[in-house]
Amino acid sequence: MSLAKPAMRGLLGKRLRFHLPIAFALSLVAAAAFKYGVTEPRKQAYADFYKQYDTTKEFNNMRDAGVFESVRPTGE
């Protein structure tokens, strides 16, 4: 039983025309997923933390812990 002639030209082109748009789209999806799954929540977490941050209170806590060289803890 003799074999029929298969397609022998343009095989790579056909493969690329199929796969490249998918690859392009998947890359965009991956980038979007990372942006909205990681970076935006991270930015929001920082924003939320600093919204209620009392700089003076935290400074005094650090000062009393003795971590500064430029100011001594209160009372010394």
């Binding site: 074999l3 397609a7 030209r9 095989l11 082109g13």
Partner: protein
Amino acid sequence: MHCGKYIKSQTVKLCIVVLHIDGIRSPLASRCYSHAKVETDEEFDARWVTYFSKPDIDAWELKKGMNTLIGYDLVPEPKILDSALRACRRLNDLASAIRILEAVKDKSGPHKDIYPYLIQELQPTLIELGISTPEDLGMDKL
């Protein structure tokens, strides 16, 4: 393939990528906006059969021809391979003849139906010239 299909803003880059690969269906050296005459598949095949049919082809030309041919986005037609195998015979180069068979099997990539078809078509030539296939020699296994 009509190139206007690709002219959308996000796929302009894709069009440039596609154009730079010689993988556009049928004509080999085709650019969407060029006025150059496009070579047909038959003309391409005839050109390569003629190339390998040169009676006094030398070893360099054989190698160069094969390497160029393998660089294209196609598996060479049986008639081109027949011409190349006969050139190997004229050059007493059995090694290259078998290598040509290995090369076209590799060119087929995932399309497993191409190589058996080529061997089927080349069988008379292989028998006439006394060329063993890599499978006959057990060279297809690692």
